[in-house]
Symmetry: C2
Subunit: 150 residues, 2 copies
């Protein structure tokens, strides 16, 4: 029924309860499986001292830090690639806005099911669920929200 499943994951979401669902659905449907994790760039404003958060850093550090986050994501997700039995080519780590990148990938690659945690992706949005809302309403395909187990 599904031909291309996209698992949208957080770094800390590589937990058995969600991986199990992804694996089982992939096996039941024999779909191609892709994994996406979006690295959101840290706004320059944090570095240029506008918010006074990290004074003394400049925008070059922003780019550098984003690259560090990207490298770290690659590293952390290596074990997920192995557990899900996919190739590195099926792991995608774009830099950008989370829901936008997920929706763009899904459309380009003819994804017919996006699997995500039900309480949103990325830090604070975990509480707000705004990313899962954006995916739910923006997706041109089905969306499975896997309930976070406390």
């Amino acid at each position: 029924m599904y031909k291309h499943i996209l698992f949208a994951t957080e770094l800390n979401e590589t937990k058995s309860y969600i991986e199990d669902k992804v694996t089982q659905l992939q096996q039941l449907t024999q779909a191609k499986l892709s994994v996406i994790h979006v690295v959101e760039p840290i706004p320059n404003a944090y570095y240029s001292g506008v918010y006074g958060v990290i004074p003394g850093l400049d925008s070059a550090d922003s780019i550098g830090t984003t690259r560090v986050l990207e490298e770290r994501a690659k590293e952390v997700l290596q074990s997920l690639v192995k557990r899900l039995n996919i190739t590195e080519q099926d792991l995608h780590i774009p830099i950008g806005h989370t829901s936008g990148e997920i929706l763009a990938f899904a459309e380009q690659e003819n994804v017919d099911l996006i699997i995500t945690g039900s309480h949103g992706l990325q830090g604070l949005q975990l509480l707000l669920g705004s990313t899962s809302n954006a995916i739910l309403h923006g997706a041109k395909c089905d969306v499975l929200a896997v309930r976070f187990k406390d």
Copy 2:
């Protein structure tokens, strides 16, 4: 993987694109399948003339009209019961608030997957998606939002 699937349907959502997904997932997982359609009672205010919408009707008509809606839902959903190959006992038509009734049923009956349209249930909420949001965030189980095909 899923043991009890709940298909939350609108009356006009008995279309092949969503039924096909429900049937296929039920067959793949061999889960028990229940269907729920919630009839929202028409507020008394409409009848008592507060909004001047239907002057001359009173609250007894509200109860009567809700019963008519309930009967009509039963009638319309008979064909769905047959197509999904379930028994009448697996069709539930509670009266109340849509997402609240769906979430309550899911919890009571140990539903582990709710399947719904991705653009909400019940009339105007179709545009707002507020019901699918409420289900997504309130559910203690997984939620599959099936994308509406234009």
